[in-house]
Amino acid sequence: MTSQAESRARFGVPADAMVFARSVRKSYGSLDVLKGIDLIVPKGSVACIIGPSGSGKSTFLRCINHLEQLTGGVLLVDGEFVGYDLRDGKLYEVKDSLLCKRRADIGMVFQSFNLFSHMTVMENLIEAPTRVRGMSVAEAKASAEVLLARVGLSDKAGRYPRELSGGQQQRVAIARALAMNPKVLLFDEPTSALDPELVGEVLQVMRDLAESGMTMVVVTHEIGFAREVGDDLIFMDEGVIVERGEPREVIANPQSARTREFLSRVL
């Protein structure tokens, strides 16, 4: 039995689950950041995670692509542990090459863009496809041009990141993640570092992506975006999921007092 099939059977993972989390815990020393997260993000859906800072939402996102290692619990992406193989009921840490291969399928967009500052926009986009996937430069450039057109930045291919506005940089970062053709895209507060008038252009790109059927997990403060685009709204506080539901429903009629209080302050 393959590791993937064994995990699916053992944990009862639904066939359509892209991200599957069961009692995910994470602590730094004595500080418990995640205290048991249970969540299923179905394929093709958009899950928006909101919550006050320090609630653990970014940490959870970074656990999904194994930038942080879990302290306990089970976290599967497309039925697979990212950093481990399950054999005979034990988790074996995988070797780096396999970890890289699996991570390449999970795109991530950061609050601070993190474009490679010594490379042009085009070089940023073709770096991982050519180095990690072994794509030819010509092929990678051709698909990068399509992606740049998609985020509306065809004319910036030869520019360096610092010559672009924050909104443009974040759109390049999204294109860079898409260049790996990921199964799922993680967004860590993608608009929090932007000037207010640049937020819209990034959200528009994300909206288009959601419509194209991309599976997305979005940590955000943009309640409006969550309401319009999200299939699920998850409210986290103090390392647990306090409330989860259909976004309009949660925003209009929050069940928990803590959610009500938070929403009243951000809306």
């Binding site: 991570r103 993190n114 490679f116 500052s117 770096e127 991982a128 180095r131 790996m180």
Partner: protein
């Protein structure tokens, strides 16, 4: 042409004249006094150089391209290049060990830097030269097979090899610190973004971290190369026939000490100047992603005339 129209927000009539005002620069008496003193010094030094016959410029000029001097200069350049290349390789390895997650490797690397930066280069040099006092022979034996090879330490530890080994190890200690600081200066987000894209640790170091660290590594490394060039004159002590040693052996015979020291100083200065120009272009290359359009001539004039940054901005 702009689509934005300026709006009068003051409520004052727009036809009131606004004169263009003339800016009168502040008087900088301190700088003028400084210039006067510097000029005076320059005059006395120049006069001494020109009139004191002991400098014996004619003799110096005769020795400038002397074949032995040329051979010595060649040896000095060879030493600098070989030592710098070896030190960059060793220094990079030590730096990567220092930023590695393993505490053992970190400690090993710290101990390396502590030792090789702490002991004076001259002492290390003489130590390696006298390695045969510690180990008579270097040999490789495998039990049951016998001795694979065995050589006398003195046969391979020639003065040149001792110089290369000693100064490479010493210089690597300094370079390791420079490279480590460069690696640390690259924001952690770059590492995370590359990991998220599935790049391996090696790829991230080589393609993402080191190229960006270069901007911080190149300027101090250029300085290191320049001081290494001069440091190689220490090999005179173990009789490697470099530039300084050659000049010494000439003036030991002819007693033309000052002219030959002038020749040596000239060649060191010449090479340092060439290296500085090379360093300038290297810095430009690695800083190309954040260069602004700036006229270097204007910048040079600004720094010469002491005008403060910002006062001449358009």
């Amino acid at each position: 042409m702009s689509l934005v129209e300026p709006k009068n927000t003051t409520g004052l009539p727009l036809d009131l004249p606004v004169e263009e005002l003339v800016v009168v620069p502040r008087r900088r008496y301190g700088i003028w006094i400084g210039i006067a003193i510097a000029m005076l010094f320059a005059f006395f030094i120049g006069k001494a150089f020109a009139t004191n016959p002991a400098f014996d410029w004619g003799t110096a000029a005769n020795y400038l391209f002397h074949p032995s001097i040329m051979r010595g200069l060649g040896k000095t350049l060879l030493l600098t290049v070989v030592i710098m290349a070896a030190a960059i390789v060793i220094g990079t390895i030590i730096a990567i060990m220092r930023v590695s997650p393993s505490a053992v490797l970190q400690t090993f690397a710290s101990a390396y830097v502590w030792f090789f930066r702490g002991v004076p280069a001259l002492i290390q040099l003489i130590f390696w030269f006298n390695l045969s006092l510690l180990f008579r022979t270097a040999s490789l034996s495998i039990p049951g097979v016998g001795t694979i090879f065995s050589v006398n330490t003195n046969d391979f530890m020639t003065p040149f090899v001792s110089a290369v080994v000693a100064l490479s190890l010493c210089e690597a200690g300094y370079l390791a610190e420079i490279i480590r600081a460069g690696i640390k200066s690259v924001p952690h987000g770059q590492f995370e973004a590359a990991s998220g894209l599935g790049m391996s640790y090696r790829q991230i170091l080589r393609r993402i971290i080191l190229p960006q660290a270069m901007r911080f590594i190149v300027p101090p490394t250029g300085n290191e190369a320049i001081s290494l060039l001069k440091m190689t004159s220490l090999v005179t002590f173990i009789a490697v026939d470099d530039l300084f040693y050659t000049a010494q052996s000439i003036y030991a015979r002819t007693f033309e000490t000052i002219p030959l020291l002038i020749v040596v100083a000239f060649w060191y200065l010449f090479v340092v100047t060439v290296m500085s120009i090379g360093q300038h272009f290297l810095e430009r290359y690695y800083g190309r992603s954040d260069r602004r359009q700036e006229n270097p001539l204007i910048r040079l004039l600004q720094s010469l005339l002491g005008s403060r940054k910002g006062s001449v901005q358009s």
